[in-house]
Amino acid sequence: MTAWEAVLTICGLALITLLTRAFFLIPEREVPLPGWLQKGLRYAPLAALTAVVVPEVVLTQGHLIATWQDARLFAVSVSTAYFFWRRDILGTILTGTATMLALRLGLGW
């Protein structure tokens, strides 16, 4: 791919960001969605986040992890415990990341 092709590709990607994120905001008149669908879509953000996170935690190269010696499992456990103890997002990130670093750098997992 030449540099100009890469620039074209990237400009197209930016347009796709705009198009997908603004999709139902583009038309002047509201596109009517059935009421049941609107109600159901309340679960969409939670579902999308979960769908991104769970595979990142339990899969390696597309396969379920087969060993308990995986730093991710411990980082998630510590984060989970911290969140339900304190309900604090920043602390949840910090405790989990610290666990991750300790196991990766200390034990080489």
Partner: protein
């Protein structure tokens, strides 16, 4: 200028910025790792900077990088990015009741910045789908924080690609940030069940190309949510594999 400083001082702008800042740290770690990945894929520093600044969508950037590196046809790269971004199409229907009354130019500008985290945080602050005063300011406060927390580390990652240790697993901080956000959305049995269904579906459908497992997971969770809302008994929850 006075408009800008009025926005800056607006309490909802501040609140929007504050609500985003806790998650911002995880997002920053993720941005850093994405910046490094862009350069390491062979894109080069100038094009990586350009991509980070204009595309502003981590998941579609990460999905298209290997394709660009392999010299795939441009339409394949675009189709991939579109599929990876399909969840935003679903989200945009949710944005409509809040921003539908604004002029189109503004709707498009706001739409461009509606990343995942903005969506989740905004919907938690304004659960009722109707325009209310302060919404735009709150949204912009979150956008400014989110954009900075993503772009600054991403640019640092691009420039310092060789100095950033990727084997430390720093990118996992981004996953933990999303995890904390998920937990904060789990308010009752319905939401727990929807999350469990989405998690299992995403793992079960992981082999699908183009990250379509995310769309499958959203569809499954919405379907189950509708079933519960109609008072039908939901299918029993499955084994522990989906526990986050």
């Amino acid at each position: 200028m006075s408009e800008l400083s009025a926005l800056w001082r607006h309490p909802e702008f501040r609140r929007g910025a504050r609500d985003m800042s806790g998650i911002g740290l995880g997002l920053a770690a993720w941005g850093l790792v994405t910046g490094v990945a862009m350069v390491k894929s062979g894109l080069g520093v100038p094009l990586s900077l350009f991509m980070s600044l204009v595309v502003f969508s981590g998941s579609s950037q990460l999905a298209s990088l290997p394709l660009i590196a392999a010299g795939a046809p441009i339409w394949v790269v675009w189709a991939t990015a579109f599929c990876v971004n399909l969840r935003f199409v679903i989200f945009s229907a949710q944005w409509r009741p809040y921003f539908g009354h604004l002029p189109r130019r503004q709707r498009l500008a706001l739409g461009y910045f509606t990343a995942d985290l903005n969506y989740v945080v905004f919907m938690r602050r304004f659960p009722r789908p109707q325009p209310e005063p302060g919404q735009t300011q709150y949204f912009l406060g979150g956008v400014v924080t989110n954009w900075g927390a993503w772009q600054v580390p991403a640019i640092a990652g691009i420039v310092l690609a060789d100095a950033v240790p990727t084997h430390w697993g720093l990118g996992f901080a981004g996953v933990l940030a999303l995890l904390a956000l998920i937990y904060s959305l789990l308010s009752d049995r319905k939401t727990w069940l929807a999350a469990a269904v989405a998690g299992s579906a995403a793992v079960a459908a992981f082999a699908l190309p183009l990250k379509l497992n995310i769309v499958v997971a959203i569809a499954a969770a919405v379907a189950v949510g509708l079933l519960i809302d109609h008072g039908t008994r939901p299918p029993p929850m499955r084994a522990a594999e989906e526990r986050p």
